[in-house]
């Protein structure tokens, strides 16, 4: 099996790391693209914490040593060199576009939750008044969510908002140019200071996993 870590641009040397199952990292040049893989002689049957961390660690190292990296999704190994070559060739144009999209950027994740429970002020309302109250609350949440998201999206090359689990005011992922990370962080701190009623969970910087695949049309483009 051939385990794919990602596609890279401007990588000088492979990191001095072992890959999944302790295999050596290897580099392939396919359709003008650099691909980093490792080979395993056994069937990769299951995912473990260790394998995930090894994969993630290799991708992190590739990111730190190259101009751009498109992380590969774990769990999709190739049975032969021919299969790998065909897969890369088939998507070469989209992959080149993806490398251009993520070049010089990191991924930051954000979840915003409202701390504590809201006081239910709708008790005793008629059916229509209850629905109006609920609609007004939903509208206000959407407005506030956009108020939080907008400035962060503006600091990003692209961003994606998710529907979010129940209770999330905002769940989003941002592709942030490296030169904007500090501004992003400062804006996060301002939001936290201005809204102590919110819980902000911001993670990263990650390699651009969320923006790696060719789903550009689903992302919100920023200036």
């Amino acid at each position: 099996m051939i385990h794919l870590y990602g596609l890279v641009q401007g990588l000088d040397d492979l990191p001095d790391l072992r890959g999944v199952d302790g295999a050596a990292l290897e580099r392939r040049r396919i359709a003008g693209l650099d691909v980093v893989v490792s080979r395993s002689t056994r069937e990769l049957g299951e995912v473990t914490h260790d394998a995930i961390l090894v994969h993630a660690n290799v991708v992190e190292e590739l990111m730190s040593r190259s101009r751009a990296v498109l992380p590969a999704q774990f769990g999709r190994a190739f049975t032969s060199e021919e299969q790998l070559t065909e897969a890369v060739q088939t998507k070469a144009t989209a992959l080149e576009r993806g490398l251009t999209r993520v070049r010089g950027c990191v991924e930051l994740g954000l979840r915003v939750l409202e701390r504590g429970s809201r006081t239910d002020e709708s008790t005793g309302l008629s059916g229509s008044d209850y629905m109006r109250t609920r609609l007004a609350e939903a509208t206000e949440r959407d407005r506030f969510s956009q108020e939080l998201h907008g400035p962060l999206a503006a600091l990003s090359r692209t961003s994606t908002r998710f529907g979010g689990a129940s209770g999330d005011l905002l769940q989003a992922v941002y592709l942030v140019p490296e030169e904007q990370i500090e501004a992003f962080r400062e804006h996060m701190n301002r939001i936290e200071g201005a809204h102590p009623e919110l819980t902000m969970v911001c993670t990263g910087p990650w390699p651009p996993y969320t923006f790696a695949d060719d789903r550009e049309e689903s992302h919100e483009r920023s200036a």
Partner: protein, 72 residues
């Protein structure tokens, strides 16, 4: 929340965020999932209790992925 609990919670959140990305995101070149997910503990609890920032989670992640003085 005690510092120990907060540390553990940040670890869990960071790990789950990482696992979610590695398993569910990233570029896909083939249509077939060839590996099965097993033994991956997707504990995602207590998020409401967590107040964090990019810096603290970045440090946490770095400690987990690059432990200082770790013994083989």
């Amino acid at each position: 929340m005690s510092p120990r609990d907060e540390h553990e919670l940040k670890y869990q959140v960071t790990l789950v965020e990482l696992v979610d990305r590695v398993l569910n995101k990233g570029v896909v070149l083939t249509g077939d999932i060839t590996l099965s997910v097993a033994n991956v503990d997707l504990v995602y609890v207590g998020l409401r209790l967590l107040l964090s920032s990019v810096a603290t989670l970045e440090e946490q992640r770095d400690r987990e992925l690059h432990p200082v003085g770790a013994q083989p």
